[in-house]
Symmetry: C2
C-alpha cells in the first residue's frame, strides 16, 4: 500500500522542504513513484521542483476548498517518478476560510484517498506520498497529520532543535487520539550536520536519545550545494549528483525504503 | 519616545530570534534600555536570554489573555539594560482561545502602551522594544505588527528568502491600513551571509534591490559561535564577545540607533 509521510516540524528552517524534495527525487531514482504535496503557502517545494505556483495556478488550496481534485491539479516534473501538487499563496487564507467547517482538518485526507485509485489506473501504484508542511502547527499541518500514516521529523543539528520536539510530539499524539489512530513517528532525519562543530554531534546524540530507532543512520551534512539547487529549480540530483548532499539523500531514501512501512 | 520594532518573517529559521536577542544585548551595551517580548511559543528568545519559560511561568500568554500586565511578568537578565517578557508553550493556544474576541489583535499593543509609564517610573525611559515572532503570519505576529511602529525584517542570504518577502510586505500593508497607520518597514538585516558562496552575494544584491535603503549596511556572517551561544543560555556577547558575530551585531545595533526612528 502507499506510504504516506508528513514532514513536520514547527521549528523553522530545519530542512523540511529540502528533505521533501530530495527524498522524493531520490526515491524516484530508486524506481519508486512518489507524490509530493506542498502544503506550505510559501510554495518552496513547488519552486525547488520547478512547478509554477503563482496566484491562479490550481493547487492544494483548491483541493482543501473542495473545488478541484488531486487528479485535476497534479503535475509531473523533470525528476523521474515524481508527481507534484503545488502550493499557491492563497493557501495562506485557507485556515481562516475553513474555520467554520467541521471537517476542515480532514479535507486533504479525503482528497488523497480519492486520488489513489485514479493514479493506479493511469500510472500504476503510487509508492509514496510526501507532504511538506509550513513551520507551524496550524490547520495545514493538521491536515497533513490527519492524512498521513507516518511522520518524518527533520531535525536540524542546532541547539533550538530540541526545544520544539516535545510540543511536536504532543501535537502528533493529540491527532492520533482524536483523528488518526494509525499515525506514528516512524522516522527522524538529522539535517545540516556540521562535522567540524561539537554542537552538531551533541545535538545528534541528544536526538538519538529522545527518538531512538526512528532516527535514520543516514545524516544530511550541511552543504552549500543543497541550498544552491533550488535557485536553479533543480533537486540536488539535477544540480550536483556527485555532491555529499546528493549521496546523503540517496542513502536516506534507500534506508527509508528498506525499513518499510510500520507493522 | 520608545522605538517599538517587530522582527518578523514567516520564512523559518532566518535569524529572527538570534537577531532579537543579540541586537537587544548590543543595544544594552550601547547604554540603551531594551525590552524583549518573546511572542513565539517555542520560547527560543527566552532560552537564549536564560529566562525560565516552562509551563506555569507567567509570560506573553497571560498578557494577551488579560490576566497579567507586562509589569507583573517582566524580568531582568544578565545582559545590562535588557528586560524580557518570556513566552511559554501555552501561547500556542492563544490563537484559538482568542478567536471570538473582537480586539484579539490589539492586546499586546494595549499591554505595552500601559507598561511604558510604569517602566519610566521604576527604571527611566525605555529606549527600545524588540518583539520576536514565530515563523507564521497568524495572530501572534499580527499582535506584534499592531503593537509596533517599525518592522525589522531579518533576511537569510539563501534562495528561499526572496520568495516570502512579497507575502510579508502585503501582510504588513494590510495591518497598516486596517490597524496601525504608523507601521513602516524601516529595517532589513541580512543574516547568515557566507562570503565563500556566490549564492549569498546574489541574494544580498537582490534584497537590496527590493528593500533599498532599509537594508542595514551591517551584514551578519554565518558563524557557528552564534548558534552555540544559546546552548549556554548566553548572548553572543556573553559567550564570545570577540567573535565576528558579536562584532556584526554591535555594528548593526549602532547603525540602527544612529539612523533613529522614522520621521
Ligand atoms: N543540508 C543542508 N545544508 C545547507 N543548507 C541547507 C541544508 N538543508 C537545507 N538548507 C538550506 O537551509 C534553508 C532552510 O531549509 P528549508 O527551507 O528546507 O527548511 P524548512 O524547514 O522547509 O523551512 P520552513 O520552516 O521555512 O519551511 C534553506 O535555505 C535551504 O536551502
Ligand atoms: N549568523 C548565524 N550564523 C550561524 N548560525 C546562525 C546564525 N543566525 C542564526 N543561526 C542559527 O540558525 C538557526 C535559525 O536561527 P533562528 O532560530 O534565530 O531563526 P528564526 O528565524 O528565529 O527561526 P524560527 O523561524 O524557527 O523562529 C538557529 O539554530 C540559530 O542558532
Ligand atoms: Mg519549508
Ligand atoms: Mg525564532
Amino acid at each position: 500500500t502507499t506510504r504516506i509521510l508528513t514532514l513536520a516540524n514547527q521549528k523553522g528552517g530545519v530542512g523540511k522542504t529540502t528533505s521533501t524534495v530530495n527524498l522524493a527525487a531520490a526515491l524516484g531514482l530508486l524506481g519508486q513513484q512518489v507524490l509530493v504535496v506542498d502544503a506550505d503557502p510559501q510554495g518552496n517545494a513547488s519552486t525547488a521542483l520547478g512547478v509554477a505556483h503563482h496566484a491562479g495556478v490550481d493547487g492544494v488550496y483548491d483541493i482543501v476548498m473542495g473545488e478541484q481534485t488531486v487528479a485535476d491539479v497534479v503535475v509531473t516534473v523533470a525528476s523521474p517518478g515524481v508527481f507534484v501538487v503545488p502550493a499557491t499563496i492563497d493557501l495562506a487564507g485557507a485556515e481562516v476560510e475553513l474555520v467554520a467547517h467541521e471537517d476542515r482538518d480532514q479535507r486533504l485526507r479525503r482528497a488523497l484517498t480519492e486520488y489513489l485509485p485514479h493514479h493506479a489506473r493511469s500510472h500504476g501504484d503510487l509508492d509514496y506520498i510526501l507532504i511538506d508542511c509550513p513551520p507551524s502547527l496550524g490547520l495545514l499541518t493538521l491536515n497533513a497529520l490527519v492524512a498521513a500514516r507516518e511522520v518524518l521529523i527533520p531535525v536540524q543539528c542546532e541547539y533550538y532543535a530540541l526545544e520544539g520536539l516535545s510540543q511536536l510530539m504532543a501535537t502528533i499524539e493529540r491527532v492520533r487520539q482524536a483523528r488518526n489512530p494509525t499515525l506514528q513517528v516512524t522516522t527522524a532525519l538529522l539535517t545540516m550536520f556540521d562535522a567540524r562543530t561539537r554542537l552538531s554531534s551533541d545535538v545528534a546524540d541528544e536526538v538519538r536519545r529522545h527518538l531512538g530507532a526512528a532516527v535514520l543512520s543516514a545524516v544530511i551534512p550541511r552543504s552549500v550545494r543543497l541550498s544552491e539547487a533550488p535557485s536553479h529549480e533543480q533537486t540536488i540530483f539535477g544540480y550536483d549528483p556527485g555532491s555529499t548532499g546528493a549521496q546523503a539523500y540517496l542513502d536516506a531514501a534507500r534506508e527509508l525504503a528498506v525499513r518499510g512501512a510500520p507493522g
